[in-house]
């Protein structure tokens, strides 16, 4: 995998961490998955799984955005620049701490670790429920990239599994998001703080 492509995927991921608008973030993760689908053109099964998953999830999430219009943006409590800083720091830490993963290219390995780090930071620092779902999608996009970079060419089955799993999880998450929105008037995980010991 070329360095430029890996960096492009990473830049899209970083965009999700700092973006304010939900629709923009949905577009970024969808674009990321579609880029991966194009990259997988030599393995039609994997490419098809990635493309279908990207489009289905993108449409589902955009539909949810339109159905649950927030009266005002859900504040995350951590400023976008700081979120971006955390994300880059964690990605660098992963790259430094984790030795070689055994993928086909070192650029891809760094890209995988960065996307996983960005996903974790998105879930940890965003309180908007939809952004937390997008954090999981980011992690899974990183895993999809890892599967495409296997020497053994078994990526189609893995992409299919990831696509199935992610669609299932996202569908359930959407059910919860809509109920949380109906209950609290905002898709804000910050409102979910009654269970403490």
């Amino acid at each position: 995998m070329s360095g430029a492509l890996a960096w492009f995927l990473v830049a899209l991921g970083l965009g999700v961490v700092v973006a304010r608008r939900r629709s923009l973030a949905v577009a970024l993760v969808t674009g990321q998955a579609l880029v991966l689908a194009v990259r997988a053109h030599s393995e039609p099964g994997a490419a098809a799984a990635l493309a279908v998953r990207a489009l289905v999830l993108g449409l589902l999430l955009l539909l949810v955005v339109s159905r649950t219009r927030e009266p005002r943006p859900v504040r995350s409590g951590v400023a976008p620049l700081l979120r971006g800083g955390f994300a880059v720091t964690l990605a660098l830490a992963f790259t430094w701490l984790v030795p070689t993963l055994g993928l086909a290219s070192r650029n891809a390995e760094r890209g995988v670790l960065a996307l996983i780090a960005f996903g974790l930071v998105a879930v940890a620092t965003r309180t908007a429920t939809l952004f937390q779902v997008l954090g999981i999608v980011l992690v899974e996009n990183g895993l999809a990239l890892a599967a495409l970079q296997l020497h053994t060419g078994s990526s189609a089955a893995i992409e299919l599994g990831v696509a199935f799993d992610l669609t299932l999880i996202a569908t359930v998450a959407v059910v919860f998001h809509e109920r949380i929105f109906a209950e609290f008037g905002a898709g804000d995980a910050g409102a979910l703080r009654s269970l403490r010991d």
Binding site: P99, G102, I116, G135, L143, H151, T152, I180, S194, L195
Partner: protein, 487 residues
């Protein structure tokens, strides 16, 4: 297909059919269909357990199916708890006032999800491939998250959301481990079968990283500390019959995947390393759980923290290895399932008897509802490890297994933590049954008490039988086979 494989497929297919049937059946027929389906599915699961435990030396293994004694124990546990959960469900459903779906759809939605959860759970122990196991475990998250949030209350939504997000993230990390293993093993999905993983070449750094990622990710689903945050919330806010399935069946089933991974990859990462990871999670879970067992907690939350403790104990037993510790693990999984499920079922009459019990510790139940107190006493006494509870003997076996495995300090630390946990739960037991009722407590009738009393009698008999089994198991062919597979 051998008869053993046919039984295993039936144990998965029957609850799956019941899920479809519950979704499409007329509303009035759903209850009867659920009871019938659960009975058939439990019989099939019981047959798998009897067949595998009766002939522990014989194992049906293929690239996609493994029906060994370990699978038999878990399928049997899932069947028994599944049936009991379906039996208790009408009492729970009679108390439901709101849900994620419209009132007219509640029974169909509930039973179809419950059976789908059961079917996917039953498939996990018998799947012969790590990739398949990962996919099934992730599928349990999707289905069970809907069950956790079933009541649609703000607290249930919070619990369901935390559970969905945290376990999905954890399983994402585990998937990275699976992908790396696929890269190392080579040869596509077949390379992820338990048999093929055992042939992964030793010494590679990538395999060690993959193993650590896999275990860390699965830990989030098992509820091992320090990634257990979802567990007390999900167990306390889910419908009681679902909490029973989550604690008694889901956690040990995912733990089986961790054990199979550890067993398969031990030659590649080193047996000592593979076991040390399990022991580390076990000790940490015990250390985190014990302080909570000393606090006055609502009944279901107390049971949830007890699950954290018991998953730690099982991890220790698997990490110690050897016939003694593994015999203890077998007894512990079965005993924990019986006692914990009964505890959650008791929550159904308890919450109608004392509605405050959902958010506060209860006290003095024996004065106002002796049958309920007896049920709660059997459950909590057994979970605390009060003799003759089988969990007392299983913990002794596991600690002894630790000494036998040459880990005296770890075994001693575990014994100390278990003693502290025992004291905490014993105090909770006394307070719950004979303590003072909280000021302003309003107590009413206990819905579903008859069903739960019958289950309490069955559970008490099962627990005594398990205690007897705990004396026989250490020298048995079953324990030696489980230990031999580890070497």
């Amino acid at each position: 297909m051998t008869s053993r494989e046919v039984l295993a497929v039936a144990a998965v297919a029957l609850p799956a059919l019941a899920a479809v049937g519950s979704a499409v059946a007329p509303r009035r027929a759903v209850g009867a269909l659920a009871t019938g389906g659960a009975t058939l599915a439990a019989v099939a699961a019981g047959a798998v357990a009897v067949e595998t435990l009766g002939r522990p030396g014989t194992t049906a293994v293929s690239a996609w199916l493994v029906v060994d004694p370990a699978a038999g124990i878990l399928v049997g546990v899932i069947g028994a708890v599944g049936l009991a959960s379906v039996v208790v469900s009408p009492s729970y459903l009679s108390t439901v006032t709101r849900s994620l779906v419209r009132e007219s759809r509640i029974p169909r939605f509930y039973y179809s999800l419950l059976f789908a959860f059961w079917a996917i759970l039953a498939a996990v122990p018998v799947i012969g491939n790590l990739g398949g196991a990962w996919l099934l475990v992730e599928a349990t998250t999707a289905v069970s998250a809907l069950l956790v949030g079933f009541s649609g209350t703000p607290r249930a939504l919070e619990a369901g959301w935390k559970y969905l997000i945290l376990t999905s993230l954890g399983l994402g990390i585990a998937l990275l481990g699976v992908v790396l293993l696929a890269a190392t093993a080579g040869g596509g999905l077949d390379a992820l079968s338990w048999q093929a993983l055992a042939r992964v070449p030793a010494g590679g750094q990538t395999v060690l990283i993959a193993y650590l990622l896999l275990l860390a990710g699965l830990a989030a689903k098992i509820g091992w500390a320090p990634v257990h945050n979802w567990l007390p919330d999900a167990h306390s806010e889910a419908p009681a019959p679902v909490s029973a399935l989550l604690s008694a069946a889901l956690l040990p089933t995912v733990l089986l995947v961790a054990w199979r991974s550890s067993r398969a990859l031990a030659p590649a990462v080193g047996t000592a390393t593979a076991h040390a990871v399990l022991v580390g999670f076990g000790l940490l879970s015990l250390a985190v759980a014990v302080p909570f067992l000393w606090r006055p907690l609502p009944w279901k939350r107390l049971l949830a923290y007890s699950s954290l403790e018991h998953m730690g104990v099982i991890a220790l037993g698997l990490g110690f290895g050897g016939p003694l510790a593994l015999a203890g693990v077998v007894v512990h999984i079965a005993g924990h399932a019986a006692a914990k499920a009964l505890g959650f079922y008791a929550a159904v009459p308890l919450l109608s008897h004392e509605p405050r019990a959902g958010r506060h510790a209860v006290g003095g139940v024996a004065r106002t509802e002796p049958a309920l107190a007896a049920t709660m006493g059997i459950s909590l006494g057994a979970l605390a490890g009060l003799p003759p509870s089988p969990l007392f003997f299983s913990e002794v076996l596991i600690i002894a297994g630790g000494f036998a495995a040459g880990r005296p300090w770890t075994a001693a630390a575990s014994a100390l933590l278990l003693s502290l946990g025992f004291l905490g739960l014993a105090h909770a037991l006394l307070d719950t049954l004979a303590g003072r009722a909280r000021h302003g407590t309003q107590r009413g009738r206990s819905d579903g008490m008859r069903t739960v009393t019958i289950l309490a009698a069955v559970t008490a008999a099962s627990l005594l039988a398990l205690t007897v089994a705990a004396f026989w198991l250490p020298g048995s062919e079953l324990a030696h086979n489980l230990a031999a597979e580890l070497r």
